[in-house]
Amino acid sequence: MTATLTRVDVAPAASVKRRRRAPGWLAVLPLLAFVAVAFGVPALAMLNGAFTVKDQATGATSYTTANLTDSLQGAYFTALIGSVKLSAVSALLATVLGLLLAQAVVTSRFRALREAVLTASGVLANFGGVPLAFAFVATLGNSGVLTRHLGLTDKGWSLYSFWGLVIVYLYFLIPLMVLTITPALDGLRSQWREAARNNGATNVQYWQHVGLPVLLPSLLGGFVLLFGSAFAAYATAAAMVGSSVPLVTLQIADAISGNVLVGQENVALALSLDMVLIAGLVMAVYLPLQRRSARWLA
């Protein structure tokens, strides 16, 4: 009798399991298919093109690393270095300033201030591209409001220089840093500060031995995120027409649209690949740092 019972029990369970597993795959399939087409195909095209060279005379294509080497030379190399320099400097400044601003807000007694600044940061971190560039042109450009009233051009100021661009980039990088570091600052438990004081640490010693070391992974993670954002930016720089700063994003755009040199599309793809690799490196550094700070500050 028991034998028949067990046989009856097993069968329905198996069919239920089969039914349950199918919907999972079914629901995700459209997404996977879409991404494969809309993202995978361009990505593969980029990879393919980066290693392809088309002989102008015969029209034959061949695989080569010449594009990659070209992308790391001459004007392209200058552009890459320019982008790295700009991103590193703005990210560093924004990290420090963002930390100061976040700390000023987080420790305030006025909850309204904290909420206002965090909401504003959420909004400002999205404010970039063309409107931001135009706003700064209107303020500090050659015929900008401040430039005219304060006579800045006579003092040698130009918005279209390296530092002009840095000042513009800070506008969305600082709020991004505030958003990133605020959870970490919240995670700094008051007990640590009190335990440090209880063990004889002054304010400075607390930050030196406890506060900053604990925040370090988050700070590094924030810096890396900011670097990635600044590095990938295109619209802001493009809208500041006449800017003298060489940037790799601008180079790629020029090469694709055939503005400067015809036939450089494949080098543009190689440059794009360079950018992807750098961005990938950024992520590879950011994620473990994120995990470490999450562990300490949870």
Partner: protein, 361 residues
């Protein structure tokens, strides 16, 4: 955990006296402390006990230097430390939770205070190892806080608090965040360590069992004031106020009539213990272990509920007038008494505590 002779010699000879004088503190509309006067004797473990918001934690933090009184003084060994900044006070504190530095190893955590004092690395690591041995975690020096259990973390916190050989040890509900079994173990170890070191200790808790079992004296607080400060036995047996009587242990109130220094209750006339209130209509306060319950078919009280507590059975009895009384009976006596059983309630022929009649709901 055993204290080294070195530890004992340095602390028990000159155990500190702590005094709170007239401490007053308000946070906006809330009065946290309303004139606290308390003296902690050298080498004793004094528990600050009370419900949330009674001011016990505020008082402790004032001793540590994290809060400042609006008025009043804090004195250690007769010297006024009220205005000494927190990082220069000589009081080691153990927090309720999360106080270990996550980025430092256990050994570095314990050695932190010594590092602030610029003690040489080898010296401070040796001392930290000594302290870890004291709390039974000698082999965990290179681990990190997140790798330890809650009980182990609190032991490290204790070792860290003792590292600078403080005059006073402060414990802010150190066991509240731990599991029951761990709590019991750690309770005994803390008490034993404290006694061996002979260090003056202030212990804040809301758990009266903890306070009664660990402390030399218990200070019961309510709404920023001290209700009573006495040894556990006296607190339990002779509570000074109705609040203390009901907060410490379980207490039942039975209505009675007061006259000529004795009170009539449950058909008995019993002498009054201590001062009697002015009223005629009073409540007699009795502990469950003092109430006698017997099965009696003619009795006018009914058993409402029974609860098996392991060592005894706690019976809730409803009297004729609706009063509910709790009584603890040995398990075999309580056996035949089920819900609804008719019983007779009586009190032993002893003086009883009497308080003003409380309003019935």
């Amino acid at each position: 955990m055993t204290a080294t002779t070195l530890e004992k010699a340095s602390t028990s000879d000159n155990a500190a006296t702590v005094e709170f004088r007239g401490l007053r503190r308000e946070f906006g509309p809330t009065v946290a402390l309303d004139g606290l006067d308390l003296t902690v004797r050298p080498g004793e473990l004094l528990a600050l006990l009370g419900p949330s918001g009674c001011g016990k934690t505020t008082a402790l933090r004032m001793l540590a230097g994290f809060e400042h009184p609006d008025s009043g003084e804090v004195l250690v060994d007769g010297e006024d430390i009220t205005h000494v900044p927190a990082h220069r006070r000589d009081a080691g504190m153990v927090f309720q939770s999360y106080s270990l530095f996550p980025h430092l190893s256990v050994l570095d955590n314990v050695a932190f205070g010594l590092r602030m004092r610029k003690v040489r690395t080898s010296e401070r690591r040796a001392r930290a190892a000594e302290l870890l041995d004291l709390v039974g975690l000698a082999d965990k020096g290179e681990r990190f806080p997140h790798q330890l259990s809650g009980g182990q973390q609190q032991r490290v916190a204790l070792a860290r608090a003792l590292a600078l050989r403080p005059r006073v040890l402060l414990l802010d509900e150190p066991l509240s965040a731990l599991d029951a079994k761990v709590r019991l173990n750690l309770r005994e170890e803390i008490r034993r360590l404290q006694q061996e070191l002979g260090i003056t200790t202030l212990f804040v808790t809301h758990d009266q069992e903890e306070a009664l079992s660990m402390a030399d004296r218990v200070a019961v607080m309510r709404s920023g004031r001290l209700e009573q400060c006495a040894a556990p036995a006296e607190l339990y047996g002779r509570p000074a106020t109705a609040f203390v009587a009901e907060f410490v242990g379980t207490m039942s109130r039975i209505p009675g009539h007061l006259s000529d220094g004795s009170v009539e209750v449950l058909g008995q006339r019993l002498p009054v213990d201590g001062a009697a209130p002015d009223a005629v209509e009073v409540d007699v306060l009795v502990r469950p272990e003092a109430v006698r319950v017997e099965a009696d078919a003619e009795g006018d009280a009914r058993v409402v509920a029974t609860a098996f507590l392991g060592a005894v059975t706690r019976i809730t009895v409803r009297l004729m007038d609706g009063t509910e009384v709790k009584a603890d009976l040995p398990v075999h006596e309580a056996g035949p008494l089920g819900a609804g059983a008719a019983v007779r309630v009586s009190l032993p022929e002893r003086a009883v505590l009497v308080a003003e009649r409380a309003n019935r709901q």
